[in-house]
Amino acid sequence: MTDFEPPVAGVKDLPRSIEPPRDLWPGVSRRIHWRLRLLVGAGGLAAAASLLFVLTPRAPLVPTTVIHGHPVISRSGVITNDASSARLELSIGSVEVGPGSDFRVVSITPGEQRFELRRGGISAQVLAPPRVFVVETPATVATDLGCAYVLQVDSLGNGLLRVTAGQVELVTGGRRAIVPAGAVASIRKGFGPGSPRREDASRKLTEALDAIDFGSREPAAVDSALSAARVDDALSLWHLLSRVNPVEAGRVYDRLAVLVPPPVGVTRDGVLSGSREMLDLWWNYLPWTGYRKP
């Protein structure tokens, strides 16, 4: 019978994956834990005693205080619900863990303090040399370069980084973003960090950057970004240099060179061939990067 009704056009082009419109992990996690508790209840006295020993509160690895509500504070981290929050007092600063968060200690060593933000938000204030304070999230790794910042993610890893002092580096695979004070960067599961932008960047620029970083990368998006960029948006164009194809990179270079002329030692050919030294040198001359030379 199906021979008389051919397949419907377009079926083969349907996406195999569709992101849910909301974060479903909290519901899954809640039910998993509920089942675990039920299992424990049926497990008998011996198992319960063993579990009790395991769950017996011990001093957390990092001194932690309650800001409000009743967060779950354990040796390995802090879990807050919608009505609680807590503060971790680090030797190099402090971290406020906001409501609805799961923040874990990964390792504390003399050279590095590494944490994991599984979901929720943190506000970090760090007074330490660069690369000592590191936060892993489901979609990227945020490395402190001497700063204060707010990081918000859902359990999939989609989120936003807002830097208020210093700079933060975001790295996912081969994609890297440097986010200076006054800038924000979106983070997307499967992509990593987007190109940082000033908080007051225009909507046109923001949408163009999202299209380039997380979308179809159509040439029109590059056109839109170039026309919307101001001098203050130079940091966004600087990131685009390594995110677009070589032809578009040339156009980005030309626009960036108009906004912020490249310093001596930086050439068009060098930048377009991916010279890290030249890119880093130019970065130091961009407005708002925090390291502008006199």
Binding site: P15, P20, G27, I32
Partner: protein
């Protein structure tokens, strides 16, 4: 991944949730049901993780779990509510985007049209034309005869084509 390793399970969730949700959405035709079934799938997966023997890819195992769970839930809901929504003629099928609020996008229109198919026709269409099941396999998972599966597919394609051409 060992049973009880929540961090590893969360990583599995992150990697697979899009595919599981897409399958649930297409099989149920309803966003809210799809969200609930997606959560059900991962809760079931967590419970059954110890029975996963690694003979197939985790994604394949999750796919089978999703299909079984959605269809089982559908059957029990039918029994519970005895609710039938026959769509015998196109007059009862709402035209996709009839309200004219959203632009016509081929893939989106097709998804909407699928959501408006009768339950049985939609399930067979999704499993056969999108997921690549044979009628024999569909008969086994849906508990219907092969001939019924073919008839439902014929009906689904005809309804979809008419909805999309309107």
């Amino acid at each position: 991944m060992r049973a009880g390793d929540e961090a590893a399970f969360h990583a599995l969730y992150r990697a697979e949730v899009g595919r599981v949700y897409a399958l649930c959405l297409r099989l149920t035709g309803n966003r809210r049901d799809a969200e609930e079934r997606t959560q059900d799938v991962f809760v079931q997966a967590w419970r059954r993780l110890s029975t996963f023997r690694g003979e197939s890819a985790v994604s394949t195992w999750l796919h089978r779990l999703t299909v079984n769970l959605v269809l089982t839930e559908r059957r029990s809901t039918r029994r519970r509510e005895q609710r039938v929504m026959p769509v015998e003629s196109l007059e009862t099928v709402e035209k996709p985007g009839a309200a004219g609020r959203e632009p016509s996008v081929p893939g989106v229109d097709l998804e909407r049209a699928m959501a408006r198919l009768p339950d049985g026709a939609r399930e067979v269409f999704v499993l056969h034309d999108i997921e690549g099941y044979t009628h024999e396999e569909i008969g086994a998972v849906c508990g219907i005869a092969e001939g019924t599966s073919k008839a439902q597919l014929f009906r689904a394609r005809r309804l979809l084509r008419e909805m999309l051409e309107r």
